[in-house]
Subunit: 475 residues, 2 copies
């Protein structure tokens, strides 16, 4: 009997792998160790829960522990894997009760995810200051934002929740002014969420534009949208300090101070790789665990997937680290197949991302920022156009900005972004597909894209942009 | 001095070519002959005008004659080209006033479009019976549908309109019951439009499903949608006769008769190719003028584009005839460049089409129907899935049906369709791009498509379908 497939981490990558493996290899055991109480939560849904669009926290759970059990997966919550011995083929496990044991593995998947970074801004021990990278934080923010007498405990209707933390936050007076530190997509989503809860929201972004990976055209449109919705956007304004001992009182920036009673720090995440320290496992981009096209690390029978692992970038062909939901699910699923005996590519990543900012839909893919393109060895040429989302005469036609980036010599499309209020986000999938197929911009210009007055003008905004960029490349 | 670039037909293809040529070859003349009074009208917008979503007919004009003049194009309306002498390099032109002259050309573009076919159902001379393939018909239907005392003549606010016909139709009593003959996209759009005008609408489709090129999954969903909106759909019911001498009284079908006071016949179009009869020009698929990858006919210096011309199909690599708006614009524009001295591919067509049926958005691309795939030499394998348009917990998530068709041996994607109420239509562009890039279904499954709760679940509906179809191909 082969030793079991052992998975560390019961979120998107880990449970996708375990589920796929279970179906493909019914005769082999699979054990999933999760150090915490939560499994399979929809991280990307937390801002919408806090906003109140989603009624119960349980709505964000993809799978309950009993559903995982029902799949025939041996899920052990409260079990932290604290060491890996690749030569012995074992992991060391500590339980929440303090027990410790060795677990042999035939194959091992490290799917330990990432954790929020805060830079110099330590939120620990300061009431009203939060990061947003786990369900307990989401539940606590939601409770903190509510007036004490208006909070409904059924909002956090999951047994795993840290009830004491929720109750403590619910008991505090509701905040009126929020500082969000970080203008990436979590920051933008939280600005919308907290505005929706009635707060006066200030969004701080270190660089000159919001959503830097989406490029300037998107950043500027989103900044305008946020301002129109009452959010005060501070660009070029890194927050230097969270002021307050027990409870947040202010944020300090640019020699100024803004009194706030809520601060959410969303400046990024870093991969959880400590488990493999000292094992000889190579780390790569972003300090994440280096993996190959099958999700394998350099250690025998050891895989990594999700926010803790690198992937191959579709445009550069080089290693990249871009922690995103689909990547985690897809690579986990592929590794489940591979371990079950059907070698399956985890797939390249194109850095495809979409975000909603009130009525603006934003998308990006590939290499949008000039620096990133130059660093990858390209000679980037870029054009941004504004085009209608529908035939001009059809009600609801809205200005859509498309940015395309190509390599000058090869004319190959290497990146793009899109922003607009009318079905803009899903249009980025056209660019993602073109990127992964290595299309040139003239080829993109000749695509037979859909036209009907309610959905697109004769020339789709992407085709308009491709025409203009082709002109620049030939000019 | 080279003889001018002569264009026959002042609609999408003709004016795209003339405009592009004008910019690229400022020193050469371009003459556009148009036999009628209308130019550059948005055929695809007519149902929405009739519905009343669009206030004035002038909204549907992309370019006015004076704007064409301002571009430096010699536009001659009321000039019918009645003959081509490819050896002499001349066309024979007859004016509306009865004059006739020969016009030498250096290059010639035939962009004569198509005309509605009616099968055995002759609408001529029968009040209340119409086809819908020109602006005068649209103006007449709009006037006919209105109560005489409620019709606003400013609706048809274009000088080219056949005012006498409009006035005559406006004076007739408003219809209450409409028969639409033909369940293609024009029929479906007209069903929505006339329902919006308060009529009791019956839609007749010869075959068992609406929108046959979109496949059964789309046809069934649209049939349900129409029924829920009060349209009576008769499938498998070819209309055999329009009954009525001076005014439409009924339609006969299946041995039954339905009293109606409006009939719109929308069963297709055929290409206008008579101009080239006897010149030795080859015709191809659908009886359209055969063209190559640059839009050239087999006659020297003679091009054809738009609804009268064939194109190359992206999936089969074979000749096809699919009269659609982008094809006309794109091929016209490419020919304008080519004639100006910059050889430019007209581009393949993928048969990409989208249509709105009340709240359902429908798209299709490539070879969807099994017969078409078999005829093209493929061994088609098809799967249809129903997946959410957004994360399940996000409000507005809606069932989206995706059908994918692949070739069994090569696993290449050869067609697909999509239907749903939430941003479904533009998603078909992902499939169009994949088709044109010759992706296999496993490659499609590994695309890095966009995920964010308001716009897509982790696995985009297209990825869900690709997973299932990959399973079938490997099973």
């Amino acid at each position: 009997m082969t030793d079991p497939f052992v998975v560390v981490g019961a979120d998107a990558a880990g449970l996708s792998a375990a589920s796929k493996f279970r179906r493909e290899a019914p005769d082999r055991d699979v054990v999933v160790f999760e150090k915490g109480r939560w499994i399979s939560f929809a991280y990307c849904g937390m801002p919408y829960f806090i906003e109140g669009r989603i009624e119960h926290m349980s709505n964000l759970l993809s799978l309950s522990p009993s559903e995982v059990d029902d799949r025939g997966i041996d899920l052990r919550r409260g079990h932290e894997v604290v060491g890996v011995d690749p030569e012995a083929g074992t992991v060391a496990v500590e339980t929440a009760e303090g027990d410790r044991f060795e677990q042999p593995y035939g194959d091992l998947l490290v799917a330990t995810g990432g954790r929020a970074v805060t830079g110099p801004l330590d939120v620990r021990g300061v009431d009203g200051a939060f990061t947003l990278h786990d369900m307990d934080a989401a539940a606590a923010i939601d409770a903190y934002v509510a007036e004490p007498d208006a909070y409904d405990p059924a909002r956090a209707d999951v047994s795993a929740v840290d009830r004491e933390r929720v109750d403590r936050n619910a008991a505090m007076p509701a905040p009126e002014t929020a500082a969000i530190v970080g203008g990436g997509y979590v920051g933008v989503e939280m600005a919308e969420a907290l505005t929706g809860r009635g707060l006066d929201v200030h969004l701080f972004q270190r660089s000159e534009h919001l959503l830097p990976p989406f490029g300037e055209a998107v950043g500027e449109r989103v900044e305008t949208e946020l301002a129109e919705r009452g959010v005060t956007v501070h660009t070029g304004s890194p927050v230097e300090e969270l002021v307050g001992d027990d409870r947040i009182e202010a944020v300090a920036f640019d020699g100024e101070s803004l009194a706030v009673d809520l601060a959410v720090v969303g400046v990024g995440i870093e991969p959880n790789t400590e488990l493999l320290s000292g094992t000889g496992a190579e780390l790569g981009e972003g300090g994440a665990i280096r993996t190959d096209e099958y999700g394998r690390t350099n250690l025998p029978d050891v895989y990594a997937a999700g926010d803790c692992a690198t992937a191959i970038h579709a445009v550069t062909g080089e290693e990249a680290w871009m922690p995103l939901g689909l990547t985690a699910n897809r690579s986990g699923r592929a590794i489940g197949s591979t371990v079950a005996g059907d070698p399956t590519l985890v797939g390249d990543i194109a850095g495809t991302a979409v975000v909603k900012a009130f009525d603006q839909e934003c998308g990006r893919v590939g290499l949008v920022e000039e620096d990133a393109a130059v660093e990858a060895g390209f000679d980037p040429v870029s054009e941004t156009v504004t085009a209608g989302s529908r035939s001009g005469y059809y009600p609801g036609a809205a200005e859509t900005d498309v940015t395309l980036v190509a390599d000058r010599d090869t004319k190959r499309l290497i990146g793009g972004s899109i922003v607009g209020p009318d079905r803009a986000a899903v249009r980025v999938n056209t660019l993602a597909t073109a990127l992964e197929a290595d299309l040139t911009v003239p080829e993109l210009e000749r695509l037979d894209l859909a036209y009907a007055p309610p959905f697109s003008p004769v020339w789709d905004p992407i085709l308009v942009a491709a025409k203009v960029l082709t002109g620049s490349l030939e000019g």
